[in-house]
């Protein structure tokens, strides 16, 4: 068996130098990588562990933006009071992933790059307009998270690009929520997860902008644009919420699996979008 070189950079620039070799990979908490590596699904010649790159770690809040460093763990996101106050859906999603051990190890950047369409965090983050910052030796770019995913386990990242942080704009009059549906076991992947946000106009009643995003019902997180369009201009009255939730059925593209048939997931996507929107209004 070939041995894998284990690099421990202490800065982003050093990490980017380390990754230059072909088939090198970045390593965050390592939960997914360890599983893939020990079952010989991946055999990288080099891994670049980001645990010592202090500039990638932590959560900071300004008047306009919350920034989450890419090696921040799910547990750290879930425990952060500012995130809980400003983006309760993000907080909730980070707090329900896997189990306490996974939450303690798994990093946000690693999770986003893994791109499993059942993940809870992406719909919660997309709903509140998160943007991903990416660096590589050839420069940096910002990618709206809603444009980050290309397919099952696929993102727009090239192999030498490093997710450095996610930034979320703080908007007044925004309410957001994330709800997941795990009918079999609390510890399961969701059958469907729904992240929503509503931004209200100056009157505090009229919805000016809305986002509804779902996981578990497609190869990537699904944006329900038609649902959002229906909500805009309304006050979030029950009839409108129901119409919006109805529209979600046509937006999703679920597959039959052990967590439900496609037909059922479509129904549940609608139900949980409605409930998530209700939760926004009641928050």
């Amino acid at each position: 068996m070939q041995s894998t070189e284990f690099m421990i950079p202490t800065s982003v620039s050093e990490a980017l130098d380390n990754i230059s070799r072909e088939d090198a990979i970045f390593l965050g908490g390592g939960t997914s990588t360890a599983l893939l590596y020990k079952t010989r699904m991946i055999e990288p010649s080099r891994v670049v562990w980001l645990g010592k790159v202090s500039e990638l770690k932590g959560i900071s809040t300004s008047a306009t933006t919350v920034r989450i460093g890419s090696t921040t763990t799910m547990a750290e996101i879930a425990a952060n009071r500012e995130i809980a106050r400003l983006f309760p859906g993000v907080s909730a999603a980070a707090g329900v992933i896997g189990n306490a051990r996974v939450r303690a190890m798994a990093t946000m950047g690693g999770a986003l790059a893994h791109a499993d369409p059942r993940q809870d965090l992406p719909p919660a983050l997309i709903a509140v307009g998160a943007t991903v910052s990416v660096n590589s030796s050839s420069g940096s770019r910002e990618i709206p998270l809603k444009e980050f995913y290309e397919g099952f386990l696929e993102t727009v990242l090239s192999p030498d690009e490093l997710v450095t942080e996610v930034s979320i704009p703080i908007r007044s009059n925004q309410r957001s929520s994330y709800l997941r549906y795990t009918p079999t076991s609390e510890g399961d992947y969701p059958t469907v997860g729904s992240g929503t946000s509503l931004i209200f106009g100056p009157d505090g009643k009229t919805i000016e902008a809305a986002t509804a995003v779902l996981c578990g019902v497609g190869t990537v997180p699904i944006l329900a644009d038609e649902a959002a369009r229906i909500l805009i201009g309304s006050s979030g009255d029950d009839t409108t919420l129901q119409r919006a939730a109805e529209a979600v059925r046509n937006a999703v593209d679920p597959q039959d699996d052990e967590r439900g048939t496609a037909d059922y997931k479509r129904e549940m996507a609608s139900v949980f979008t409605y409930r998530s929107l209700k939760s926004c209004l009641n928050s």
Binding site: Y181, P183, T184, S185, G187
Partner: protein, 701 residues
């Protein structure tokens, strides 16, 4: 009052040694290349790359097996140690690598290149018995220990029947109300957390030491002796702690393969399954399809029933230990009731699925789900009522069950009313539907298994009890200590209980069948008697008990499930499971309670989540990420009500408990779902989606 369990400190500090923790000098490691196909001919096995890997000591296929021995089993010898010309399931072992490390062995096993020619797949029990179905085994009746004949039909592992079909049919024709429905349960796995493991250490003098995750050391010794023509006296099964069993660790597992490899390489060989392999290659619970017909007269009295079970035995029959090669829980389906004409047939067939064996109360969870669901449906549809139909038909004292047996007492009606009398403490979430369901289970307690043990004088007045049983968690060794403590009137810290290897005691039947306590209590009581009469210069007493019977007695349990269902999604929340349990004396109250709680949680898992997802000859639940077991946040509130004062068996006047609580849960929950929603679910696990669609269709409201 019971003192804390004997193994508590060692287990809590991590000091307890399980099979995987054993390290021997010069130990080597084995890994297996398993079949990727459910049914195929092996055209070629290319080991050339694997055997050149640094650290690989040998790569072996069936033709290398010592002495040409290949088939093994618990009764029927139909399981190949390594596949010969054919594979019959995904996961069939084809070749084994022995290497200096587990990682090298596993990596090398992946480099073994097998060329297959695919054969048609028999994916379900129903398909297996269709005329013209592909034969999984050409001539299963030729296997050593087989109980089938060619006349029985194709792909049959065993058929067990009881009663007269004609008489039952006649009785049903005269019934005022009948129910005729079919109930389905999935393949399941015991879900012990410790994957199966083995170390075999064969020596040039023909002696063999084996450490194995196995609860029946004496049976394992006999199987290994038979397979490899070894002198049983030279085969020594070493003491181990078992990390959970639930029936899955009665089979020889990989001990025959490990033994063969140790003979071949002349070194100790250790093989620890990855959990994914354990899910793929061991001996879980049979999937079932059970058609139930029951009839009552106009007064609600059962007049007859026909209970036809078709069970998926998977690719091999060799993991069923009993003489019938069947599951006695199936033929015992109506044992709690007075049914004048009851016919039961339990047909187990070969398929290309994982071989199935014994799992906590073999056959009973499936049978109880079918019978107690059907009885509930009959009660509701006929207008008699789900509770009333049970009250009318449960055995009273002196009544004979469908086998004509009269137990010392029948307390089914009492446990039913005790369960129903427990106050409701849990509210359904706002807007959810609420319902309650009941189910009853009884099992016979008559057989006293054989065992042996020795009491020996230790230093400073200590008494050392040497026992043949491994501690699988149920607390058998603690029971021994408790009996000695009370029998001899000495303190716990003066008593040491230890398992000894198979050469040091004559016999044991193994842990299982809810009868450990019974067999052990008989032996300990005898030993205590001898000890008290022992001359002062004598150092030890040894007792061997033979198989016997007592009673006949039986134990009942009734479970009341209180559930809530979200009408918008079908999501099921089991709020509470009340278990009313028929008990006599209790030797260790805490261990007894944990058997009820643990059993109920296992029953809950079977009812709502566990499923190997066998489809098309492939089990899809191949990790605990997909094969879900109940966690502490999933489970309902557990409430126990003990019906004390029963007439038990054995010197301690006890009743079995280990398999009482996991059997009625599935039916109790399904019955509660109908109560809440009007939707009848006849397939386990009960899924939110199934409830959702059934509610939409307005089934049987």
């Amino acid at each position: 009052m019971s003192e804390r369990r004997i193994d508590a400190v060692a287990k809590a500090t991590g000091a307890a040694k399980y099979t995987a923790d054993v390290v021997l000098e010069g130990m080597t490691f084995a890994a297996v290349k398993r079949s990727d196909y459910p049914s195929a001919l092996i055209e070629d096995i290319d080991i050339s790359v694997a055997k050149e890997i640094e650290g690989v000591l040998g790569v072996f296929t069936s033709k290398d097996l010592p002495g040409g021995a290949n088939l093994y089993g618990r009764r029927v010898f139909d399981v190949p140690i390594l596949a010969e010309e054919r594979v019959r399931r995904v996961g069939d072992p084809i070749a084994a690598v022995v290497a200096t490390s587990r990682e090298i062995a596993e990596a090398a096993a992946e480099l073994i290149d097998v060329t297959y020619k695919e054969l048609p797949v028999v994916a379900t029990a129903r398909d297996a018995i269709k005329p013209g179905a592909p034969l999984i085994h050409e001539k299963p009746w030729e296997y050593k220990g087989a109980v089938v004949t060619p006349e029985m039909g194709i792909n049959i592992q065993s058929i067990d029947t009881h009663g007269s079909r004609e008489a039952a049919e006649a009785a049903l024709r005269g019934a005022a109300h009948i129910i005729d429905e079919t109930y389905i349960t999935p393949g399941d796995h015991q879900g012990y957390i410790e994957p199966q493991a083995c170390i075999a250490d064969y020596h040039p003098d023909g002696s063999l030491n084996v450490w194995n995750t196995n609860k029946s050391p004496y049976r394992l010794r006999d199987v290994l002796s038979a397979v490899f023509s070894l002198d049983p006296k030279k085969v020594e099964i070493m003491p181990t702690v078992l990390g959970g069993d639930f029936g899955g660790k009665g089979s020889p597992g990989d001990a025959p393969l490990c033994t063969a490899l140790s003979i071949l390489v002349g070194k100790p060989v250790k093989m620890v399954l990855r959990y994914s392999e354990d899910l793929l290659s061991t001996d879980g619970r049979h999937a079932s399809e059970i058609r139930v017909r029951l009839g009552v007269d106009k007064d609600g009295k059962l007049v007859g029933g026909i209970f036809e079970a078709l069970l998926d035995g998977g690719s091999y029959a060799g993991f069923k230990p009993v003489n019938t090669v069947n599951l006695h829980g199936i033929v015992d389906a109506a044992i709690a009731y007075r049914v004048p004409e009851f016919f039961v047939e339990s047909k187990i067939v070969y398929t290309n699925n994982q071989p199935k064996g014994h799992m906590r109360a073999p056959g009973s969870p499936q049978a109880a789900f079918a019978f107690e669901s059907a009885l509930d449906e009959l009660g509701r549809r006929s207008g008699i009522g789900a509770i009333k139909i049970r009250e009318l038909n449960l055995l009273s004292n002196g009544d004979a069950n469908p086998y004509g047996t009269v137990w010392l007492e029948n307390r089914g009606k009492e446990v039913l009313s005790l369960a129903l009398s427990q106050p409701r403490t849990q509210e359904a979430p706002k807007g959810w539907l609420y319902g309650e369901g009941i189910a009853i289970y009884a099992r016979s307690m008559a057989a006293v298994p054989k065992t042996s043990l020795r009491l020996r004088k230790g230093e400073n007045g200590k008494v050392i009890a040497e026992v043949p049983i491994p501690e699988n968690g149920a607390g058998g060794q603690t029971v021994v200590r408790e009996m000695i403590r009370s029998g001899l009137g000495i303190d716990s810290d003066k008593i040491e209980v230890k398992q000894v290897s198979t050469s040091l005691l004559p016999t044991d039947a193994g842990v299982g069948g809810s009868r450990v306590s019974l067999g052990v209590t008989v032996a300990v009581a005898n030993a205590i008697k001898l000890w008290k009469e022992m001359p002062a210069d004598q150092e030890l007493v040894e007792v061997t008990t033979s198989e016997g019977s007592d009673g006949p007695s039986g134990a009942y349990s009734a479970q009341l499930a209180r559930v809530a269902v979200d009408p918008a999604t079908g999501q099921l929340k089991v709020l509470e499971i009340v278990s009313a349990v028929d008990v006599a004396e209790i030797v260790n109250p805490k261990a007894h309670q944990m058997q009820i709680d643990g059993g109920t949680v296992m029953g809950y898992g079977f009812a709502v989540m566990e499923d190997l997802l066998e489809d098309g000859g492939q089990p899809w639940a191949l990790s605990m990420g997909e094969f879900k077991l109940p966690n502490v946040a999933d489970i309902p509130k557990l409430t126990t009500a003990l019906l004390r004062g029963g007439k038990g068996v054995g010197p301690n006047n006890i009743k079995a408990v280990g398999e009482l609580a996991n059997c009625p849960t599935g039916a109790a929950i399904a019955n509660a779902v109908e109560d809440a929603t009007g939707a009848r679910i006849r397939k386990l696990p009960v899924k939110a989606e199934a409830i959702y669609w059934a509610m939409k269709e307005g089934v049987s409201k």
